[in-house]
Symmetry: C2
Subunit: 233 residues, 2 copies
């Protein structure tokens, strides 16, 4: 049974890393002792070791051991034998490039489809979608493919941001960008605001957390979905 | 002699399309009667025809005829024989994919290197850089390469945006994104704020317009450059 949490962000404004997600992690990882951490997105360009240390410190407070995927001699083998996973945020292009080049995207998908608990934040949530084509990230590297795991049958836009009133800036709004994507591809997109996450248990997908999500379906007006509701896209 | 204008945006807040650039266009296109328009970036998903009509209406007020590249039977031949060019904004991934798939990126570069005046706005300016890897756009399609024309020896970040004070949003700032790029690639990046443009005349590159640019070189503190100054990167 799929057991997945895809969160908009790792950190809420004014809070410490992952703190708002601790209760969610305890439920998701119930019965688990070791979690494999995928640090490839490297926020701010920090090293895999530094990123793993930062995340491990928080996981320890929940009684969970965290080990970086980069420390295994055979990462594919490690994923196949892994009990549970966490993919942190950072740059989605970097994350997806690494996973594809090492042949790990489909291996990770296979392990999660079989029931290994999976937590993603930001870039780590993007790869739960059908493809990474609604990321906000900068294309700092060139991945061999934009396809991702497809743990859910739609795409995410993490850190979803409403237009900022009175900002005299002419760059495209997030909504305009998502609509431009849907001119190219008829795939629903869920704008996931900071503070909320998607929960997948088997075939059931729900929105959880503190704020509504904004849903974009091609040729339909965008609409809001409140936490606690099923997502049927 | 290279004769190029790369502008941050087509439109300033509260103004009409291209109006602030009209004096620049008159100087850039002096002696020219017909300009070829490259509409492939399709802002908001509008059609090539609609986009060309919109731009042609403004060009007409400057006494310039505009013809869309998509209306030529042989676009490469059209570029080789073209007197001058304008590439409009929209989605950089879409623009770059079209240019590469039709084998036009290097043809356009060749024509501009030989002296045909070139104006780019936003996505059309991004392709004047070394690669498109510091665009703000969403990866709505997968281009065969991120390489662009390299009319200047650095990259641009159009619509450069300073951090917004008091915004309780945890997505990366523009500066963080550019720094993440420079962890991957040692290439200077010029953050081009709306209201300014880069002017290339032969080997001389200057910043023009109404606001300073922010310059990022790897392992150096970012710094401001005022309009009227040479850009030596």
């Amino acid at each position: 049974m799929k057991n997945v949490v895809l969160a908009s962000t790792s950190t809420l404004h004014g809070e410490t890393y992952l703190s708002y997600l601790l209760p969610v992690m305890k439920e998701l990882y119930a019965g688990i002792t070791e979690v494999i951490f995928i640090p490839y997105a490297r926020p701010g360009g920090i090293s895999h070791d530094e990123y793993t240390e930062k995340a491990a410190a928080v996981f320890a407070t929940a009684g969970l051991q965290l080990r970086g995927l980069h420390t295994f001699a055979d990462p594919a083998e490690a994923i196949r034998g892994g009990a549970a996973f966490f993919t942190g945020g950072g740059n989605t292009f970097l994350l997806v490039k690494q996973l594809h080049e090492q042949g790990l995207m489909h291996v990770l998908r296979g392990a999660v489809e079989k029931g290994a608990p999976y937590l993603g934040t930001s870039a780590g949530s993007n790869i739960g979608g059908v493809n990474m084509q609604t990321t906000n990230d900068m294309p700092i590297v060139y991945p061999p493919s934009f396809d991702t795991m497809g743990l859910i049958p739609f795409n995410l836009n993490p850190h979803y941001l409403d237009p900022i009133p009175d900002l005299p800036h002419m760059g495209e709004t997030r909504e305009t960008r998502i609509r431009e994507f849907q001119v190219q591809q008829d795939l629903p997109v869920l704008g996931l605001r900071e503070g909320s996450w998607i929960r997948v248990k088997g075939d059931r997908i729900t929105l959880e957390g503190s704020v509504a999500a904004r849903i974009f379906e091609k040729d339909k007006a965008a609409y809001e979905l409140e936490p606690g509701n099923d997502i049927q896209l």
